[in-house]
């Protein structure tokens, strides 16, 4: 287990380094000049050149790269070119918002998606199955910003249950008020994914010999489904949850924007629009880190769900 973890972490470091280099190059290939964005459209070329010098953008690319990597190794991610605030601080400011939204919507997705997927598989080609399949298809094809607006129209404007600006904090009620609609919005989409994967995994498992054997020896149907079959169908579900957790953090941007919540997605989009190189670099490192960690957690979860999986 320890050797496994060390090896995986070693890979993670290499991945991080590759991503760092890639991001460093990519953001500079895209046309657009941070100095221009910072100074605005009335700035003279002299002022822009002066700022480029201050930001170190006039240095040859390899020198910028050395400066960047050296700083990154020492834990210094630099300061945002736009706001002048440290990148780490900017990220930490909004990270909790994104994490709570991501995890809550994942929980909602699992709570709805797994039972629905199981039910659909068990009642294959009957009403429940069709309803679950159509429902999940809708969930997958509905753009999150449309569903977000519909939720706001119904529950904030129509019923006045929740605020439109879903970014309150301070008390438990304020938190609940702010998180409910965004979490439901993302949760339903997640549920749609999980339903579909659970259904197909269950269908496969239900064909297995051991399921027939279990039934034949008189195990109650519900025990067969929930203990024998679901347990074995979990691996692809865990995989999709793991993959989706990575995507969710990026996907949440539309939800964040419509519900006026702070978040990582908004930060990335803003940094990209403004060509905030330092910010983008820092964000990508953190994002990669999250994905690597989630993958690691997924691998460990495999072992828990299925003891036959060995940490080799």
């Amino acid at each position: 287990m320890t050797a496994f973890l060390i090896r995986r972490l070693g890979f993670a470091v290499i991945t991080l380094f590759a991503v760092l280099t890639l991001v460093f190059v990519l953001v500079r290939i895209v046309p657009g000049d941070p100095a221009q964005v910072i100074l605005g459209d009335q700035a003279s070329r002299e002022a822009i050149e002066a700022l480029r010098e201050r930001l170190g953008l006039n240095l040859p690319l390899y020198q910028q790269y050395v400066v960047f990597v050296w700083g990154a190794l020492g834990g210094d991610w630099g300061t945002s070119m736009m706001t002048g605030r440290p990148v780490i601080q900017e990220v930490l400011n909004v990270l909790p918002w994104t994490l709570e939204l991501t995890f809550l919507s994942l929980i909602i997705g699992v709570i709805i998606g797994v039972p629905l997927g199981v039910a659909a598989a068990v009642r294959r080609n009957r009403f429940t199955d069709y309803a679950a399949r159509i429902g999940s298809l809708l969930g997958l094809s509905f753009p999150p910003f449309v569903s977000a607006l519909l939720l706001l129209l119904a529950f904030s404007i129509g019923l006045h249950w929740f605020p439109v600006i879903s970014a309150k904090s301070g008390s438990l009620t304020a938190w609940v008020e702010s998180i409910t609609l965004p979490a439901i919005n993302l949760g339903l989409i997640t549920a749609a994914y999980i339903t579909r994967v659970t259904r197909s995994a269950m269908l496969e498992v239900l064909q297995e010999d051991y399921v027939r054997t279990a039934r034949a020896k008189g195990v109650p149907w519900s025990v067969v489904v929930w203990r024998h079959a679901l347990r074995n169908a979990l691996i692809p579900v865990i995989t999709i949850i793991g993959l989706y957790l990575g995507i969710l953090i990026g996907n949440s941007v539309l939800t964040e924007i419509v519900f006026s919540r702070p978040g990582l997605g908004k930060l990335i989009v803003g940094a990209l629009n403004q060509r905030d190189y330092t910010m983008l670099q820092g964000m990508m490192v953190i994002y990669t880190l999250v994905v690597v960690l989630v993958n690691l957690a997924t691998d460990i979860a495999y072992g828990i769900a299925d003891p036959r999986v060995k940490f080799q």
Partner: protein, 519 residues
């Protein structure tokens, strides 16, 4: 475990239903403004270059002079931190008498001529200001004594007072605070205005509290929350639900029509108009032939564009300088809409079967719908406008590299003709040169007049020079002005701004010490 979670959510949802609805009854001393950007940028008045940042900073800072709240023209310049001022005959020496008893925010002490001198030096320094170019003519600025400020210029500057008014580099910072905080000044901006900086929550809001010592009297409002809500529809919904008292509108007519129908709401299309114009690179083929440029000008129907954009929020352009500026030629000889004339000119230039021209254009919605309408109009005259759409920052980078023979630009500037003419048409501002700003046309036909007007002290002569410059630029078709987009805002009708709102130089309505809720 799962059951507990479900139970928790149900209970939580139940909690939530009890709240939220009764927020509207809070004591109305707090103003909440919804702005259309994702986050605060630089809150240093000498560095801020975006409308959202400028709008907020206007509540915190004063200038030596100010444009009367609600107005957007230098005709309304009145004393601010300077009580009075005098100038010598040729306008190169200005002496300001600084008001006494003005206090800087958060206990940074009284504001003196010393602070004013420091502030102007700071605004004219490339390292600390985006507006250093505005002070290119500055020779010396000094505090003669605690209440007297003297500014010496190398040469006269048209509309000089505009540069020491309460916008951009004219915002007065407090020396002690700015020196103490250095580069961090933008994290806690210290000024002398009616509201002072209190709190910043990333991607959420900036909170300002009343400056009880404000020299025009303590503000009626206790605080302002300036919320960052980038999605137009979310801003509208939050306004509708009562969470916002004033919002920056989606900049199109359908928004005006829809919002005006809401009960208890005021909608305003205010000055200044941002001029939307096409800038033609007169050195590129086929635009180097004036007949092709004339054909394009004849093929654009300004009236139809205004109908398309909405008569309540836009109007036809009058000249290469936006209407209402000091020196605008309100009756410049713009080309009338005439498709046959356009075709004839093209044939004469050797393009009887039409011509293809290219533009690199931003995907910014309001601007994109315009260029598509123009494309359709030009097609009628056999002019094929190829539009290459790119994202906004890319657009700004590429047009400055001269990659787009036709540039569509939409902008408002300080309302003195010199600013617009200098930035867009003086050959010194041609892109790619060391002194480049935004001359995309490579035109130099009006250099003589633009430069002479800049230092002309006789107002009538100056105006005549500006008129000639505009005529030359229009007839040479360096730029084709099309329409002007007004600034759209809405607020609850129980909010009394305390002045009549016609416009605002920074594109956001001022909130003053007199702004209050009536119920």
């Amino acid at each position: 475990m799962k059951k507990h979670m479900i139970l928790g959510l149900v209970v939580a949802a139940g909690f939530a239903t009890g709240f939220g609805a009764d927020q509207a009854h809070a004591q109305k001393k707090s103003l909440v403004i919804g702005m259309g950007s994702a986050d605060a940028g630089k809150l240093d008045p000498h560095l801020a270059s975006t409308t959202p940042d400028k709008g907020l900073l206007n509540y915190i800072f004063n200038g030596l002079v100010r444009v009367k709240p609600g107005q957007a023209s230098p005709d309304f310049i009145e004393p601010d931190l300077a009580e009075s001022w005098t100038t010598n005959a040729n306008g190169t020496e200005w002496t300001f008498k600084i008001r006494s008893g003005v206090q800087c925010h958060h206990g940074y002490g009284p504001f003196s001529a010393e602070d004013a001198a420091y502030s102007i030096k700071r605004a004219s320094n490339k390292a600390t200001s985006s507006y250093s170019g505005d002070f290119a003519a500055l020779e010396k600025v000094e505090a003669v004594d605690g209440s007297t400020l003297k500014i010496t210029l190398k040469n006269p500057v048209a509309g000089f007072l505009g540069y020491v008014a309460n916008i951009n580099g004219g915002n007065m910072v407090c020396k002690k605070a700015a020196e103490e905080m250095g580069e961090n000044f933008g994290k806690k901006p210290i000024g002398t205005g009616p509201f002072q900086f209190a709190e910043y929550q990333p991607q959420q809001f900036v909170k300002l509290t009343a400056n009880k010592q404000y020299f025009r009297g303590a503000p009626v409002l206790e605080d302002i929350t300036y919320r960052y809500i980038p999605a137009d529809s979310s801003r509208d919904l939050a306004f509708q639900s009562g969470e916002l008292d004033m919002i920056y509108g989606k900049q199109d007519q359908t928004w005006v029509d829809r919002t005006a129908k809401l009960p208890g709401v005021k909608v305003k299309a205010m000055e200044p108009g941002e001029l939307s114009a096409l800038y033609l690179n007169v050195t590129s083929k086929p635009l180097d032939d004036i007949r092709v440029r004339q054909a394009i000008a004849h093929a654009i129907d300004r009236k139809a564009i205004v109908q398309f954009k909405g008569a309540g929020s836009s109007r036809e352009a009058v000249s290469v300088v936006p209407s209402g500026y000091l020196g605008t030629d309100e009756k410049s000889p713009l080309f009338p809409y005439d498709v046959n004339k356009a075709k004839a000119l093209l044939a004469e230039a050797g393009y009887p079967n039409g011509v293809t021209v290219k533009t690199i254009h931003t995907t910014l919605t309001g601007m994109q719908t315009f260029i598509e309408a123009v494309q359709a109009q030009l097609k009628k005259a056999n002019i094929n406008l190829e539009i290459e759409l790119v994202e906004h920052a890319t657009f700004h980078a590429q047009i400055r590299k001269g990659l787009s023979p036709i540039v569509h630009y939409q902008a408002a500037r300080f309302p003195v003709a010199d600013v617009y003419l200098t930035q867009f048409y003086d050959s010194a501002s041609i892109i790619g040169t060391p002194t480049a700003i935004t001359n995309f046309t490579y035109c130099n036909v009006a250099d003589t007049e633009i430069r002479a007007a800049r230092v002309e002290m006789d107002a009538a002569k100056q105006k005549a020079l500006w008129k000639t410059a505009q005529e030359k630029l229009v007839t040479n078709v360096c730029g084709i002005p099309v329409y002007e987009q007004l600034q759209l805002w809405a607020w609850k009708d129980n909010l009394d701004l305390g002045y009549e709102l016609n416009g605002s130089l920074n594109l956001s309505p001022p909130v003053t010490e007199k702004t209050k809720f009536t119920k």
